[in-house]
Amino acid sequence: MNNRFKNEYLAHTSPRPESGWKAHAKRIMSNPLGQFGLLGLLLAITQLLNIAGIVPRSIMTTIAFVSIYSIAAIGFCLLLGYSGLASLGTAGFMGLGIYLCHYGLQEWQISILPAFLIAGIASIVIGFVVGFVSLRIEGIYLAIMTLALSEIIVKLLKTIKGSTLIIRGVNLNFFGIPLSNNAVYFTIIVVLVMLLVGTANLINSPTGRAMVAMKSSVAAAQAMGISLLKYRLLAFIISTLFAGIAGFFYHAYLPGISPTTATILTLSMSLNILGAVIIGGAKSLWGTLVGTFVIYGFQSIFLQNIAFFNENPAFMMMVTGVLIILVVMFYPGGFAQMLFTFRLWLKKMTKKWRIYRYGIEE
């Protein structure tokens, strides 16, 4: 008897578990796998549309590059936004990936998976070194030291190999099966989604919280028993690993281009990644993705279609620059903060409208 009342009471008071496809979708979309999986699905569908001849090739190239740079940017976001460590070495770390991709596929003639593993291991080693440097030096000094390290790597690579890197298409293979450009694209998307989900989960794990604690106050974090050595090393290893992966795919996606290293392995490359993370919002993965798109994709997808900008390509660069400055000046938290402010404003407006319409305050 008692039990029946209790059940009835519970049925009335507690919200009924939602059912149907809507609730299901909501549940899926509330975890990172669902969100980023959907993004990956959309990107994959765009490629299928390209194969079908609907989406032009130039857009696909842009999306691929935005995805590649996003991989580096996510690692950087974890480093800067969540661990509070600055780095200007992204170009060097990406360069390592690019050169190892070339060596693996072209000179040693191995297939893409072992080459990828070699590039990954090399990046981890470099991350280890930078991590140790970060224990001695902090702040902007650390950023400039990583710049020095990146210069060393780039000089080293250029002295050994020069800046002409070409992979012939035949060598791009997965254990003997030749890979087409499309296959590389799909691989990039899969890797991007995996890394995004992994990072999102890492941020919410005890490890991520330890990193955030380290960012807020090194002294307090140490007092709470957080090992600086462990988490700084980890943050740098993840960041360089992601940059290395990005470099690897950069070269794998564009195997025929030779003078890449001269133009991309520069300080401005590292600064662009930094800019992407900052204007997107350093503490938001979605923000980072949007920021990367603004820096690398905005020009070629939107501005190029406007006749004025197409005739004066120099203006496109200026627009990006002005955009960056305006965002940092007025929204230091980046697009993520902008969205947040917009939501607040929307909420306020809805409330006002309700009061006006119904004359009640909730």
């Binding site: 800067l80 600055a86 440097v133 001695r136 030096i137 702040g139 902007i140 000094y141 950023a143 400039i144 030291m145 710049l147 020095a148 390290l149 210069e151 060393i152 000089k155 080293l156 002295t159 002294a219 520069t266 300080l267 401005s268 600064l271 662009n272 930094l274 800019g275 900052i278 204007i279 350093a282 004066n312 120099a314 203006f315 496109m316 660069m317 200026m318 990006t320 620059g321 002005v322 955009l323 960056i324 400055i325 940092v328 000046m329 007025f330 230091p332």
Partner: protein, 304 residues
């Protein structure tokens, strides 16, 4: 003997780079101390100023010295614009934000330069004075370009004036106070706005001066031609220690000098010739790991 002579020749050959790096480093240090940020736009501003000078002097045949003065004024105006119109207008920009703003400026300048001056490389500014000085010694000839000598004189004069201003004048006192803490400086009555604005103006003018000296020496003019100098200026600042004004300048002498000396060692083994920069940078890394505050820097006690 012949090796000693070649060492001396290597050093005289790198004197111009040393001067340029010293002047550029002074600008970077000023901004680092007063605005607390690394100015990535330094090289781009310098290149833009050099474009102005090159066009005035070459296309419109304005007198050489006048052109350089106009270039410097351009630099000063640009520096003031950055500080007054951008840094001061933004709300709570943090250090990284400032860095990103200077990066955005690089993007704007790189876009604007080809737009204003056309895409082709402008004629190079000629050397201040053509020709070489040569002295016969050690059974050979030690030669140095007259241009480097002029640049050394300019660098020495400019840096001396700046250091006297920094350590003897009221403005210099203001800069040093602002450098230690902008907030406190404001409280005790230093007009930090004037201090940062003048620092930006001087830094930008120094950047243009350095770039003109380099371009007139022997470097083709592109929007990014100062990036290399800029990077070694940052490293010089770290090596010497940003906590003092003299340290970075000494660092700026050490780095290019070390690179050319290690390159000279190439007569022992060609290895040194091709790896000079890598070796010097690795040594630099080790030096800073041993002394994180820089070779000449003061230890700054950290508050918790």
């Amino acid at each position: 003997m012949a090796q000693l002579l070649s060492l001396l020749n290597t050093i005289t050959g790198s004197l111009l780079t040393i001067c340029v790096t010293m002047v550029a480093t002074m600008g970077i240090t000023l901004i680092f101390r007063t605005s607390n940020t690394t100015n990535f736009a330094q090289g781009a501003i310098a290149a833009a100023g050099t474009y102005v000078v090159a066009y005035l002097a070459m296309q419109y045949s304005v007198h050489y010295i006048l052109a350089i003065l106009i270039g410097l004024v351009f630099g000063i105006a640009f520096g003031l614009f950055i500080d007054i119109m951008i840094f001061r207008r933004g709300k709570n920009i943090n250090i990284v934000g400032k860095q990103i703003i200077t990066m955005g400026l690089v993007s704007i300048i790189f876009g604007a330069v080809p737009l204003i001056f056309g895409a082709q490389i402008p004629p190079q500014i000629p050397a201040f004075i053509d020709g070489n000085f040569s002295i016969s010694m050690l059974g050979g000839e030690l030669s140095i370009t007259k241009h480097s000598v002029v640049c050394i004189a300019i660098t020495a004069a400019v840096l001396t004036v700046l250091f006297v201003l920094l350590f003897k004048s009221k403005w210099g006192l203001g800069v040093r106070v602002t450098a230690s803490s902008e907030y406190t400086a404001g409280i005790v009555g230093v007009n930090t706005y004037v201090i940062t604005a003048t620092s930006w103006a001087i830094a930008a003018a120094l950047a243009v001066l350095a770039a003109v000296m380099l371009n007139a020496g022997n470097a083709s003019l592109t929007p990014s031609f100062m990036t290399k100098i800029q990077v070694s200026s940052f490293l010089a600042g770290i090596l010497g220690g940003f906590s003092t004004f003299l340290g970075p300048i000494l660092g700026a002498i050490i780095i290019p000098l070390a690179i050319s000396v290690v390159g000279w060692l190439g007569f022992i083994n060609p290895f040194f010739q091709s790896w000079a920069e890598v070796i010097v940078y690795i040594l630099l890394l080790i030096a800073i790991l041993i002394k994180p505050q820089g070779l000449f820097g003061k230890v700054v006690a950290k508050k918790v």
